[in-house]
Symmetry: C2
Subunit: 334 residues, 2 copies
DNA sequence: ATGAAAGCGCTAACAT
DNA sequence: ATGTTAGCGCTTTCAT
């Protein structure tokens, strides 16, 4: 049941296979007559071009590869929207491979994409070690998304998490809060940037003495546990900035369970603006990342290398934005 | 900066390119000496096989394609785990393309996968029209996942949603509930099966007269609105079965907001066992679908066609299972 | 055990 | 405007 080829079309239309190729690629210099004959034959044979053959002949695949470490993370669903839209406009298709958040599987996925001769590779939050990533980048332009690359040797797109954390603090300070605690993300991705953004902003507002970081781990249970520690401690904060939405939700529930009203008694801010934050009964004030833009920026970096011939690594830093919900309000009067 | 080929390796190792090919594919009938020379040269040149060339020559890509209509739906993240694991064991790679839940983009994604000569195609909840799907299936084995195909002409993997809904009802009846209402999913995917599963189960328990279906739409707001209508109505139910977790959550919040205790006064069951259901403060009793198994079953169907030569369409129906949470309890005494 | 040669399905000069 | 020819990088007989 092998598929028909342009040779079959050529035979049926009574022309040469190069003419078929020309017609199929929409060349203007073919007679209306042969064009029709070719298209008709192709239709009748249910012809489908063979991308492997075309790619081999053209020595380009017109494909961008995306290695998604974790398909469960819907953050990257939006990022991919941006990638797909932008690359389609440039005549590229986007193909994904997943790494199931395991180094070995990520490496395999990348290998497959490289062997397919994708013309650019976007790595979404890879767990893979930097040397392996750099090795891949010798074969194809690589862009790292949402993973701070210490070595400035790989193109990277990220958001300014220090600024994001600062925006959260600024918002709370404007509402009159002075005792603002932070439930951090432990050793998780971006946690240290968010933590130091919080600390720096507190100092900037001359509230350094009030700064209080409690350990979290980006989980719901972690957020709840952190609240327990915060409330049992000495000076109870009037506001809490959690390092992500999930731990904010855990904190929210723990607060409500203890009869603490949010935002009347304690204001709460999360990070990431996940679908969780947008649930009706949660409606969390949080920090939003421009996901689609992250995706289109990543493609932009690839294009600069492919078409523009750029060779030096670049880092694109996008700005997060505060999203208001119902979990923040003016600080209670003492 | 073109990549090295086996010809380059052959030159450097001082052998023919056929020998290089043999070595690279691990043939046993090459001398240890040439094997070493070839591998060394490949290493030194940082050689990467060209999958397009290999695929063209072998006339097979060893790739399965997956068209994911909606990357936001984490349901398919688990399904993909199953697909990936199973197909890897058979020597296939899995490549994804997304359709952004738009027919036109889905068609494009499928086209790309077909032109790449993927050897099997799994369509995850496509919006695409059946004729288009059938057309694709003329070029490559196609399996439909989680979309009931009326025409039994395309291989399909699905779960028994009628049975799932029945399991929810059975559970509630066992707890002594008799007035059980259903918030349906309107015209959404699977909604009618879940609805009729509910109705049939009610009748089976001789509770047909108590059956009450209120319109929902799989959304949080829809669930909340449905609760409003239910409580304002006449005979208040003691249990509610919502067609999915999100609308169950909407219902839960609406109930709590009106001071109705769950599960003391009203029990609540959802469907899908999403991450939402597993949030600590929700802990919803719900119906779980065997996601990984759905994925591996889909691959199995492809393999039957590719290796086993099956030609007749098959439909695999898997069983959902009840997952107990804290939202269901014995019916209150009248 | 190794090499020569043909061919996979297509594109891309180059002729005519 | 159309056809001829030579690859693209690899696999695969078929010789030797």
């Amino acid at each position: 049941v092998s598929q028909p080829t342009i040779v079959d079309i050529a035979a049926r239309a009574g022309v040469s296979k190069s003419l078929v190729s020309l017609v199929l690629r929409g060349s203007p210099k073919v007679s209306e007559e042969s064009r029709r004959a070719v298209l008709r034959a192709a239709e009748e044979l249910d012809y489908r071009p063979n991308a492997m053959a075309r790619g081999l002949a053209q020595r380009r695949s017109s494909i961008f590869g995306v290695m998604l470490s974790d398909l469960h993370n819907t953050f990257f669903a939006d990022v991919l929207d941006g990638i797909d839209a932008r690359s389609r406009r440039e005549g590229f298709r986007t193909l994904l491979a997943t790494g199931h958040r395991k180094q070995s599987l990520e490496a395999e996925a990348i290998k497959a994409l490289v062997e397919l001769r994708t013309e650019g590779l976007i790595l979404a939050a890879p767990r893979l070690s930097m040397p392996k990533i750099i090795e891949a980048s010798r074969a194809v332009p690589v862009v790292l998304v949402s993973r701070p690359a210490r070595e400035a040797v790989i193109d990277t797109v990220m958001t300014d998490e220090v600024a994001g954390a600062a925006a959260a603090v600024d918002h709370l300070v404007e509402l009159g809060h002075r005792r603002i605690a932070h439930i951090d993300g432990g050793a998780g991705a971006g946690a240290s940037a968010r933590r130091s953004g919080y600390l720096r902003a507190m100092e900037r507002h001359a509230l350094g003495a009030n700064a209080q970081v409690v350990r979290g781990d980006y989980t719901e249970a972690g957020g709840a546990a952190a609240v327990a520690r915060l409330l049992d401690g000495g000076a109870r904060p009037t506001a809490i900035f959690a390092a992500n939405d999930l731990s904010a939700l855990g904190a929210l529930n723990a607060l409500l369970q203890r009869g603490v009203r949010v935002p009347d008694e304690i204001s709460l801010v999360g990070y990431d603006n996940t679908s969780l934050a947008r649930l009706a009964h949660v409606d969390l004030t949080t920090i939003d990342q421009p996901r689609r833009e992250i995706g289109s920026a990543a493609v932009e970096l690839l294009l600069e290398r492919i078409n523009g011939g750029r060779r030096k690594p670049r880092r694109v830093v996008l700005s997060p934005a505060l999203v208001l919900g119902r979990t923040t309000a003016e600080a209670p009067q003492p």
